[in-house]
Symmetry: C2
């Protein structure tokens, strides 16, 4: 099966070569947070008494699913334990959604730029991703509903959003969510909502697709603890739907792979019991970083970065000819005080060829000192880059 | 996507109802070993210092892959760390094999009876499973090569075996492996080899498909630590191939799902360092159970069970009309001294409709006392079963 390569990974050899030359590389290219994994959740794994590390229920341990019900309730989302399947990260939740709801040849409409791995999961399911362009000029707001309608065909089966958005950081408003609801009801489409960054909403709150009334049969939420508790390596996510038929279809795939990771489910379960104010510190930290990053970016001549309302990403428009070339050049040919930065060219996040050539994604997963140093590098780099526009 | 339901799971509600009536159910239906997970491997997770539980390399931690190279070397298999992708259990390794090597519409030829979840992975990849029947009369030996050749078409892309076999327990001989080699070379087919039970070979040793000379470009081994170290819940397996192109294709799927479970990789890595004689005790235990189970089965009038050379499964032929009906009856309508047993109807392991109606699979994952009690139940049940033949 012909699968697209990860657009970010292709720069890795250049970063490795830069490091071999003794250059420090600031990694703003990937969504791996530097925030500490809460010690209490790792302690839950350490303290567990496990005579035999058995398969769990294919939907995940019942005790964990019950805890997740509490977690969702606290977030204004009412679900039962039998509407949740614990997955191997958000990745598997997305796969289950595609496999359970779509047939080969079906189309899923996604606002672009979008998380590049959606392409991979679509490819595995034989599904086509149809992009609808959101623009940096609008701050990556939801494209007008008419733009979605232009893309709807008899093959359209679902709309997929990520809220708050990776890669744009855009936080969809309640009004935008309701517009999507109307669209999905009108055209009988599933609404897949990837809510990996739910807690990291700085300007307003994240409305879950599960809160849209009358959409019980159409909404599938793909969730993960990766970013929430800085536990990306645990590989624990959740597939959540109130549609019984979809749930049962997904369960068949869950049963085929037997069970989700066992040790990490203990971690996920303990995470639900973290103090209510747990998110205050990481959220404040991310917000401080965002404010700094966006300010620094917009101070550089010719650079524009809209203020992202959530997640820990920003997309900036740079005065450059080609973001792939520029990102490679940063690693291959540039350094400032023996330092450089690694960015993700936005081209990899667009489905429409040719878009994103002047845009890069920055993940603010580094502390403010590192962000300042990286922005110093970027400022100098844009002065020297031969492909400047 | 229309996915077959798990053939074993459908009996679960009947087992639950029996338990509610106060009947003890001996679970010979699933491959969940009762053997202790080695405390040393769990200790490795407990002792790990993890400030941030980060994504690992998509192929798995380099340190673990290096350890796996040692593990394979000890088993007479020479591979490098760059020929291994650590997976979420054997399940994901099988998925990667199907996705990386096959296209929708392709056919994979599998000796039946076979592990029922192969159907699920084939369904997800849009691939068709073509069964070649092995028979209980031959002890489930590899079907004659001519039988495979009869099934080969322009759509045939791979042969998939499980060695030692689940569900039959059959251990393929070196001669049979060489016959498969000849067939795959002649028809340019991949040889997928699921070697989850490698260490549990009682009569002879398990020859890995990776040991077949001249097959470097065609062999993919799907592996897992689930049964090896009684760590089914860890969800750690491995995809192993010397074919660089196939490896790179599988890596794209590995990258899309980011990384395999992190905590459990520490467990897997520690397992490679268990003492060399670690397998002596579980292997002797399984062999004792096998000997007892097979003896007891063959003592029951009308029952025939060939002696399986490996894994921890046996398929027995019973004097019954229909194994699905019988297995349900055992749970729904039968008990002996307030006890009964749960078996897997072999029908679910055959691709050819109508086969396996007089056969059941028994997993000897219970101690000898329980096996004896379960066989007492089976003996009585066969006296009373209304559908006896």
């Amino acid at each position: 099966m012909d699968m697209p390569a990860s657009p970010i990974r292709k720069l890795v050899p250049f970063a490795e070569a830069a490091k071999k030359k003794g250059i420090k590389v600031f990694h703003l290219n990937i969504g791996q947070p530097d925030i500490e994994t809460p010690p209490a959740v790792l302690e839950a794994v350490r303290k567990a008494n496990i005579p035999v590390l058995e398969y769990s229920h294919s939907a995940g341990n019942e005790s964990y699913r019950k805890k997740l019900v509490e977690y969702y309730e606290r977030n204004g989302i009412t679900v039962t334990k039998d509407q949740i399947i614990v997955t191997a990260g958000g990745s598997e939740a997305i796969q289950f959604g595609f496999f359970a709801c779509l047939n080969p040849g079906d189309e899923v409409i996604v606002p672009e730029p979008f998380y590049a791995n959606y392409n991979g999961f679509a490819c595995a399911a034989g599904v086509t991703v149809i992009p609808v362009t959101s623009t940096i000029e609008s701050g990556f707001a939801l494209p007008p509903i008419e733009e979605f309608e232009k893309k709807i065909s008899s093959r359209s089966k679902a709309i997929l959003i990520c809220n708050p958005n990776n890669p744009t950081g855009y936080l969809y408003s309640e009004q935008e969510m309701r517009a999507l609801r109307g669209l999905c009801l009108k055209h009988d489409l599933y609404l897949f909502s990837d809510e990996a960054y739910r807690e990291f909403a700085y300007d307003g709150t994240c409305m879950s697709a599960l809160q849209l009334e009358g959409m019980e049969q159409q909404v599938v939420v793909m969730d993960t603890i990766s970013k929430r508790y800085s536990a990306c390596g645990a590989r624990i996510g959740a597939f959540v739907t109130k549609n019984k038929e979809v749930y049962e279809a997904a369960m068949k795939f869950a049963q085929a792979r037997l069970s989700p990771p066992g040790l990490a489910q203990l971690l996920g379960e303990a995470a639900v019991d973290l103090p209510a104010n747990y998110f205050d510190i990481p959220k404040a930290e991310y917000q401080t970083r965002r404010d700094l990053l966006v300010k620094r970016l917009n101070q550089i001549p010719g650079v524009y970065c809209p203020n992202p309302g959530g997640a820990f990403y920003a997309i900036a428009k740079l005065p450059i000819d080609d973001s792939d070339r520029f990102c490679q050049w940063l690693l291959e040919s540039f350094s400032y005080e023996q330092q450089t930065l690694m960015l993700a060219p936005a081209t990899g996040f667009y489905g429409t060829p040719g878009l994103g050539k002047q845009e890069v994604r920055l993940a603010y997963v580094l502390n403010t000192t590192a962000i300042n140093a990286a922005m110093d590098c970027l400022e100098k780099a844009l002065e020297q880059y031969p492909g400047k526009r």
